[in-house]
């Protein structure tokens, strides 16, 4: 139970400083992602796909984007204020945007710095493969940035953790179950982020239909092994009587989690419009047949989800991201990088070499690579060449940039400063090479020794040379003396000729 109290302490500390929290919303367009975010925060921070002309809103920062077709003028990253029907057939690609907002809780003056990642364009394309890659790359990059920061010698005190703590996946309200698209994306993303599935536009279901739909989704989640965020509760733990420390609050948490787990996936109805009823303005949707109050727990889990995200499970989500998801990623990454240097059999080494070509430092081309490409079976030769190749890599790295360790670190820092938008991939590359730092150091030392030796020998040589020159001078002086003597004797001509050699 110490864990809980320590986390409570942390929470207290965090309350004073303010908590940084990042959520991502993913889902097909038109199922209310933007509306949900805007309703959640009670401010319009994410623009809709089409905004009526005249509305002013700060456009969120675009973290990255990719298009299907380079020539396409339509792009999910570009917000279309006015709707252009002539271009509607072009695929928008996908963009990832970040918007930051600060929430001040009036009750205990706690602050939350919320970063909302939106993914406009997801599911809008005919082929949605590109969306997967883009989102996964984004999530990986955030991990890589942290990894790079951790491995640095001198850490940046103002470092901003941009890891995504929770991802709300909006399930399209089909009434059937999960679709191929849903299953695939959740499976892929769950390695990097906690996924909370939610049903968007829950107002398209009657009570029975919603219950059916939820059951189908849960059944699918189980059948297809879709890893989603679990609200943990343990039936056995409660049964221990001598655990007096189990306070009411903790018991509450357990039963609350049990309840939340039973209610998953959250069915959400959201609305930015406020409608006046009985003198009070309530957020809701007005239909000819009735009015929906989005805070009504009878049919909308909006309030519940808001509570889960912004208070009760905020720390859980953060902890899980750091202790589990990031840790796994880190282990995998470092192991993959170290795997290259391991002493393994030539066969596995070759496989690794072929497999991980993309993931390690940009290598200079050499004959051995070509051989590997051509799958030449003589692996012994290959190995030898590989080793040479590795030496080449380091050598050429030396030649090109002379990266001594300090400059290496400096490079990281400087790139850290300019990561804002574009240099992320570069940084990713760097972070991959950071684990090489130690290896690099060794080689560096060896090189320095060599250089010293060289300098020493050069000095010696110089000394010898000087000595020789001195001798030569003496010899010449003697020669001159001899010449002078000879000239006295009268046979000067011959001697001067001989002294030239």
């Amino acid at each position: 139970m110490n864990f809980l109290s320590s986390s409570a302490l942390r929470r207290k500390k965090d309350t004073r400083r303010g908590v940084k929290f990042t959520i991502m919303v993913v889902g097909q367009s038109g199922i209310g992602k933007s509306t949900f975010v805007n309703t959640l925060l009670d401010t319009k921070i994410v623009p809709h796909k089409y905004e009526p002309i005249g509305t002013t809103i700060d456009e969120p920062k675009i973290a990255s984007f990719s298009t299907i077709d380079d020539s396409s003028t339509i792009n999910a990253a570009v917000f279309q204020r006015d709707f252009n029907p002539a271009l509607a057939d072009q695929e928008p690609g996908i963009a990832i945007t970040e918007s930051e907002v600060e929430i001040l809780n009036k009750g205990d003056y706690s602050r939350i710095f919320l970063n909302v990642i939106n993914t406009p364009g997801f599911g809008d394309n005919i082929d949605n493969e590109v969306c997967f890659e883009e989102i996964i790359n984004y999530l990986k990059q955030q991990f890589d940035i942290v990894l790079a920061e951790e491995t640095k010698f001198k850490r940046n005190p103002k470092f901003k953790d941009t890891r995504v703590h929770a991802c709300l996946y909006f399930i399209t309200p089909t009434g059937h179950g999960l679709r191929e698209l849903d299953v695939e994306i959740i499976k892929k993303l769950s390695k990097y982020v906690n996924i909370i599935p939610v049903i968007g536009r829950a107002d398209s279901f009657t009570k029975e239909e919603l219950a059916d739909f939820k059951r189908n989704i849960l059944y699918d989640i189980e059948k297809f092994n879709v890893p989603v965020f679990q609200f943990t509760y343990d039936d056995d733990e409660e049964a221990i009587p001598e655990e007096d420390e189990m306070s009411d609050e903790e018991e509450n948490i357990l039963s609350e989690n049990k309840y939340l787990q039973s209610i998953q996936p959250f069915a959400i109805i959201s609305s930015e419009d406020e409608i006046e009823i009985d003198g009070k303005s309530i957020k809701g949707r007005q239909y000819p047949w009735g009015f929906i109050d989005i805070h009504n727990p009878e049919y909308s889990d909006f309030k519940l989800l808001k509570n889960v995200l912004l208070s009760t499970h905020l720390q859980d989500l953060k902890d899980l991201t750091h202790d589990y998801l990031y840790e796994n990623y880190r282990t995998e990454k470092l192991r993959a990088v170290n795997g290259i240097n391991d002493e393994t059999t030539p066969e596995t080494k070759k496989k690794e070499f072929l497999g991980s070509r993309d993931s390690y430092i940009p290598e200079p081309p050499s004959l051995s690579n070509l051989n590997a490409l051509a799958n030449i079976k003589d692996s012994m030769i290959l190995e030898e060449q590989n080793e040479k190749d590795f030496a080449n890599i380091l050598d050429s790295a030396q030649l090109n940039s002379q990266p001594s360790i300090s400059s290496f670190a400096q490079e990281t820092i400087s790139s850290q400063k300019s990561i804002d938008s574009k240099n992320r991939s570069q940084l990713r590359l760097l972070s991959e090479t950071v684990p090489y730092a130690l290896k690099q150091e060794q080689i560096q030392q060896r090189k320095q020794k060599l250089a010293e030796l060289e300098a020493k020998s050069a000095k010696e040589m110089k000394l010898k040379e000087e000595a020789l020159e001195k001798k030569a001078l003496e010899l010449k002086l003697r020669e001159q003396e001899l010449l002078a003597k000879m000239s006295e004797l009268g046979i000067s001509g011959n001697a001067s000729f001989a002294s030239d050699n």
Partner: protein
């Protein structure tokens, strides 16, 4: 006794024949799954023609990744008039990660029906022609409130040249009247800008009432509909088809709530004949003309058809593109590798040159020293 011979009775005779033989009507429903296609069909004919897909069955074969064509045949009778209904459903459409080849089965199916009808027509005995030509295709649009998606546009374009296309906004009970209005306007704008030919009922000039009706129908395209198979009690105490929400009852046949009545009128009450005739006269004729033209121009019909199929099938095209991409990528990678290699060699050469220069420089210096020495020597 009789002022007329009886020629004017011909329409009545015709009526008898028609009502005896009945008629055939084929309806296709297309659109992403979960948009209420099955429910709509059952609502339209007020019987459960189609059963809903058993959700549990999915787990046996894994998640479906292909589009299937599902035909339901039924015979309906109303006031002694029989109609043979064929309902064509397309389960699995738009469910996948990559939907680039999702619409090919639909197009192929429509073309195949035209083709088989044409072949049967050319047979010497053709008393029993099986006719599955699609008279109307309902395309279900997801109520996003934004506009049409690229996939929608692509499919509607392809369908509109082959069949009477009727766009429908399904599950319209998730959009408020204002949102529906905006959504409809955007869709209409896209349809116009993208030159998608949707079916519009003909306006007869001499019949004012029906012209007015047609106008109303045209104005409310795309139809926003609600489907329901269950009857519920509305606030007035009547039992109506509708959906019972905690916040109220959305009635299917209420003009304020949905365009269902208009759509039914278009499909069955007023324009069914027009749909059948225009399929016969317009879509079948264009297909036939194209086909005959092609086979006249090219004797080797079957082969050209095959190659045409190959050329038109996006699956092959996609594979081809992929192969091409892989190839160019590899070539690029190799080129890059060579370039780097070259660069390295150049760098090496430069370094060597520098070394050489410095060595030469040293030699020069030494030579100069020797010269100096020599001079000194000479001087002394």
């Amino acid at each position: 006794m009789s002022d007329f011979v009886g020629i004017s009775n011909l329409p009545n005779q015709r009526y008898k024949i028609v009502s005896k033989t009945g008629s055939t009507f084929t309806l296709m429903v297309a659109g992403e799954s979960g948009l209420g296609k099955t429910t709509f069909i059952n609502t339209l004919f007020q019987t459960s023609l189609k059963s809903h897909v058993d959700h549990k069955a999915r787990h046996q074969k894994g998640i479906r990744s292909t589009v299937e064509i599902d035909i339901v045949r039924a015979e309906l009778e109303e006031k002694d008039f029989k109609i043979r209904l064929n309902i064509i459903d397309t389960p699995g459409f738009g469910d996948n990660v990559n939907n680039r080849r999702a619409f090919q089965p639909l197009i192929d199916f429509i073309d195949d029906q035209h083709d088989s009808y044409m072949k049967q027509e050319q047979q010497p005995t053709r008393s029993e022609i099986k006719d599955l030509r699609v008279h109307a295709c309902l395309y279900f649009i997801r109520p996003t409130g934004h506009s049409l998606k690229p996939l929608d546009i692509e499919v509607m374009k392809k369908l509109s040249t082959r069949v009477n296309l009727v766009p429908i906004i399904s599950k319209a009970d998730t959009l408020s009247p204002r949102e529906i209005n905006e959504f409809k306007q955007r869709i209409r704008a896209v349809i116009e800008a993208q030159e998608i030919k949707i079916y519009s009922p003909p306006i007869e000039i001499d019949d004012e009432a029906s012209a007015e009706h047609s106008k109303i129908l045209i104005e409310s395209i795309p139809f926003a509909i609600i489907g329901s198979e269950t009857k519920v009690q509305n606030p007035e105490g009547e039992m109506v088809l509708g959906r019972e929400y905690p916040w109220g009852i959305a009635e299917v046949e209420n003009e304020q709530h949905s365009d269902f009545l208009k759509l039914r009128s278009l499909l069955l009450r007023t324009n069914m004949l027009d749909l059948i005739l225009s399929t016969e006269e317009l879509h079948y004729e264009t297909y036939r003309a194209l086909k005959l033209d092609a086979s006249n121009g090219n004797k080797d019909d079957s082969r050209s058809k095959l190659t045409k199929r190959f050329n038109n099938n996006p699956q092959f095209k996609e594979e081809e593109d992929q192969l091409k991409k892989v190839f160019t990528d590899q070539v690029k990678a190799e080129e890059g590798r060579f370039r780097k290699w070259e660069q390295n060699i150049i760098n090496e050469r430069q370094r060597m040159n520098l070394d050489l220069e410095s060595v030469q420089h040293q030699i020069k210096q030494l030579e100069e020293q020797i010269k100096d020495l020599n001079i000194k020597k000479g001087y002394k």
